[in-house]
């Protein structure tokens, strides 16, 4: 654990900005007025008229509290939502590099199955527990290929799986390990390797580092930024940790009660937040090095009653 701590880069910016002009102006995904409703006894409008454009190679942060709709929105992007959730309006268009535009919401059956993971891959929330505990890492990685690339033979699958592990910084000899034999950070790396397997143009990462401690979290973030630079995929990064998003994202969307209340570059959001909720979210994180001000132990605050 401490060995890896030695690799920490003090400033994530040096890794992030390596991408040069970061995102190209060419879009990879366009979401227009997406509406998602949970059709329960009292319908919950979880995502309201969400619109955003994601550029090739861009990291878009999606910030908000639990229940703000950020995960629902992300699931809607490749139809992973399940009843009672239903998309009642809007469009999601994926702009493939080789095969042009894909109307994601119109996909179904076999075409949806092949679209998922190969074009838009996901790293799920609680990835610590997303690996199957009773089969090996090898079996889980190779499963992606047997499903999506049936033409590959066993040797190729094995080779590609090991290559993926190397790519995310896991010793390929660990390929026979089971989830419980890996540390939290390694499990997370394996999840990322799995998401990278089919060379997706877009990765959706739902709280990928939430259960990890700060040092391991930092390593994983560095890894994600480095891989983006190498492979050029775009990222939708979901978390409630706004300071972390500010450091890694090109642009950030702040969600509240299903609505995107503010969408701007990380710089604009940090220096000139427009929406009161954004300011409030920014104010929820005590600064490590700044003055402690009158914030320290304010005792009773009106917020307390929440």
């Amino acid at each position: 654990m401490s060995k890896s701590a030695e690799q920490i880069v003090t400033d994530l910016e040096s890794v992030r900005s390596g991408f040069g002009a970061a995102a190209s102006p060419e879009p990879v995904l366009t979401v227009r007025d997406l509406d998602i409703v949970y059709e329960v006894a009292e319908p919950v409008h979880a995502v309201r008229r969400a619109s955003l454009t994601l550029h090739r190679g861009e990291i878009l942060g999606l910030a908000g509290e639990s229940g703000s709709g950020k995960t629902t929105l992300a699931y809607g992007l490749n139809q992973l939502h399940r009843p009672p959730a239903r998309i009642i309006g809007g469009s999601v268009t994926f702009h493939g590099q080789s095969d042009g535009d894909v109307d994601v919401l119109a996909l179904e059956g076999e075409s949806l199955r092949t679209f998922r993971w190969s074009r838009i891959a996901m790293v799920f929330q609680g990835a610590m527990n997303s690996l199957n505990p009773v089969i090996s890492v090898k079996a889980q990685l190779e499963d992606v290929f047997t499903t999506h690339r049936p033409q590959m033979d066993a040797a190729e699958r094995r080779h590609r799986s090991e290559e993926l592990l190397r790519l995310v910084g896991v010793d390929p000899s660990r390929i026979t390990a089971f989830a419980h034999e890996l540390s939290g950070g390694m499990r997370q790396r394996v999840m990322i390797a799995m998401a990278l397997a089919l060379d997706p143009e877009l990765m959706i990462m739902d709280e990928p580092t939430t259960a990890l401690d700060v040092v391991v979290q930092r390593e994983i973030l560095q890894e994600i930024l480095r891989l983006r630079q190498e492979l050029g995929f775009a990222v939708v990064f979901i978390t409630h940790d706004l300071p972390m998003l500010l450091e890694i994202s090109d642009r950030i969307a702040v969600m509240r009660q299903g609505e995107i209340v503010e969408l701007d570059t990380a710089e604009n959001l940090y220096f000139a937040p427009k929406h009161p909720y954004t300011r409030r979210l920014l104010g929820s994180f005590p600064s490590l090095t700044g003055s402690t001000g009158d914030f320290v132990r304010a005792g009773y605050s009106p917020e307390e009653t929440r």
């Binding site: 300071p243 710089e267 490590l288």
Partner: protein
């Protein structure tokens, strides 16, 4: 008031893998003191031994060696003496979704410790429970007492867990990552609550966390652990602002902090403005 003193605490776990045994030194020769009205923060990576220390203090684990003294006297290990110890030392657990029993009402969670620790009689207990709810800023009425954990938000649950820990009237409180499972916007509220209760009650507090920023803001002293050992221990601001150990510096460097990020520093220069102080907007809340 009461002071809890730990001297050279060590805990070694015996691990078995098939026929082979190995030892894991989870905590090695850790010494500290929890004194009234003061908060000691314990920070470190996962697996550094933070939670083992909490378990040792709560007597959920026995130390392999070392001593725990409560006001200079050896602590009770069993029976009546252990109950007496628990009057004084209580804990708030990390996960309020797991630490409250889903079958029992909020009232039950508060009445039990009040009765078991002799803080109230069957007649006075409901009133005392409501008083506890009031102190943690929860609605102090019968309707709330009858609710069950699943009907509450994470922040409310953690407040109930805090009220429960306060029920025996402890003088030492161990809080193991009390806000890491909560939404960001309610975290500061719960920490502020703990800080206020501590001041009101003159509690001695151990705040276990991996969030260095809140460790700095809510404690007097910080203790940094690495692989079971305390490698740095000092006043909160000193440890954060001028760390002596390389590892502490690494831990600090790993925490997300836009204010020290080159990109935002450059942007501040470009805009010709100082770095923004977002905490000043705390008043905009609500």
């Amino acid at each position: 008031m009461t002071t809890l003193t730990a001297t050279d605490l060590s805990k070694t776990y015996l691990l078995r893998s098939g026929l082979r045994f190995s030892r894991l030194q989870a905590v090695q020769e850790v010494s500290f003191e929890l004194s009234p009205g003061r908060t000691l923060a314990l920070v470190g990576q996962s697996g550094s031994g933070k939670s083992t220390i909490a378990k040792l203090l709560m007597q959920l684990e026995r130390p392999t060696s070392g001593t725990l003294l409560l006001d200079g006297a050896p602590i009770g290990r069993r029976g009546r003496a252990l109950a007496d110890y628990r009057h004084e030392v209580q804990m708030v657990f990390q996960d309020p979704f797991a630490s409250l029993n889903p079958y029992h009402s909020i009232g039950h969670h508060l009445l039990r410790p009040l009765l078991l620790h002799g803080r109230a009689t069957a007649r006075t207990a409901p009133g005392a429970a409501k008083e506890l709810l009031e102190r943690v800023n929860l609605p102090a009425d019968d309707a709330f007492m009858e609710r069950r954990p699943h009907e509450l938000s994470g922040g409310q649950r953690q407040r109930v867990a805090i009220a429960r820990a306060l029920a025996p009237g402890p003088s030492v409180l161990v809080a193991d990552e009390p806000v890491s499972m909560l939404d960001v916007s309610v975290r500061l509220g719960v920490l502020n609550l703990l800080a206020r209760l501590q001041q009101e009650e003159d509690l001695a507090m151990l705040y276990i966390t991996h969030d260095l920023a809140t460790a700095r803001h809510f404690s007097d002293e910080i203790m940094v652990m690495l692989r079971g050992r305390v490698i740095e221990h000092g006043p909160a601001d000193e440890v954060i602002l001028s760390p002596r150990e390389e590892f502490t510096r690494r831990l600090l460097a790993a925490a997300p902090e836009p204010a020290t990020n080159q990109r935002f520093l450059a942007e501040a220069q470009r805009r010709g403005v100082p770095m923004p102080d977002h905490l000043a907007h705390q008043e905009d809340l609500g």
